[in-house]
Symmetry: C2
Subunit: 141 residues, 2 copies
């Protein structure tokens, strides 16, 4: 991914392109594996400049707020993060908690009557079950 493209993406959302923020965004774009904050922290600090834990969390929440990154809450585990590239759904493994991308398809929106005065931002479709690695141990355990 192009350095300037990331820079423009950040600035287009009103976020300064600091080295730390750039590192988080670039890492997420290059590693669409839904890393946790702790994994991002380790990865971006393998190279300079060093980012503190607080900065990782601050920047992640800035990026989520700006709509550039999606946060995926997984029951009983650390949240995972995902640069919003092409639209897609997620499959979350019941057993290992891994989050995997699934081909996108349109989701029918709720009847407007059932929304009342709520303001709908998005519909998220999550598939649950056993991932390829965990499915074999299905019967056992």
């Amino acid at each position: 991914m192009d350095v300037d493209a990331i820079k423009r993406t950040l600035e287009g959302s009103g976020l300064r392109c600091t080295p730390q923020r750039y590192a988080v965004m670039a890492f997420l774009m290059e590693h669409p594996k839904h890393p946790t904050a702790a994994e991002i922290f380790q990865a971006v600090n393998r190279l300079d400049p060093r980012s503190s834990r607080a900065t990782i969390y601050n920047n992640l929440s800035d990026l989520v707020r700006a709509g550039l990154v999606r946060e995926v809450a997984v029951e009983g585990r650390a949240a995972r993060f995902d640069a919003k590239g092409m639209r897609h759904h997620h499959f979350i493994c019941d057993r290992c908690g891994n989050v995997e991308d699934m081909e996108w398809y349109d989701v029918p929106k709720p009847a407007s009557g059932s929304l009342g005065k709520r303001v709908l931002r998005e519909c998220e479709l999550i598939f649950r079950g056993l991932c390829t690695k965990c499915a074999p141990r299905h019967a056992s355990r």
Copy 2:
């Protein structure tokens, strides 16, 4: 809700009907407001018998594992729990994190090809946006 019905529900899932487990299940069925573990802990302990925090968590995970209760992870907040009664979707407020029930409708399943060797258990549709209480402060802030 009938005491015996809850008892039969638990035993039908292979779970002993202990006073503590009964209290959790009954509370969830009587209060379909998606309480957190801490809220359940407080509520069931207002009456005897007293349940410890560990027991609340143990029983919640037993109930989830048995398929009687659904756990809803909300980013940055405590998990919420929901007795599985009638099928429904959820609306989660971006601002206050509240989880609200939404009328159920059928969700198109993924093309079987895109599942690969994964084993699908369920499709969960989550709506996000601002709840009725938070929507008015929309423009401001």
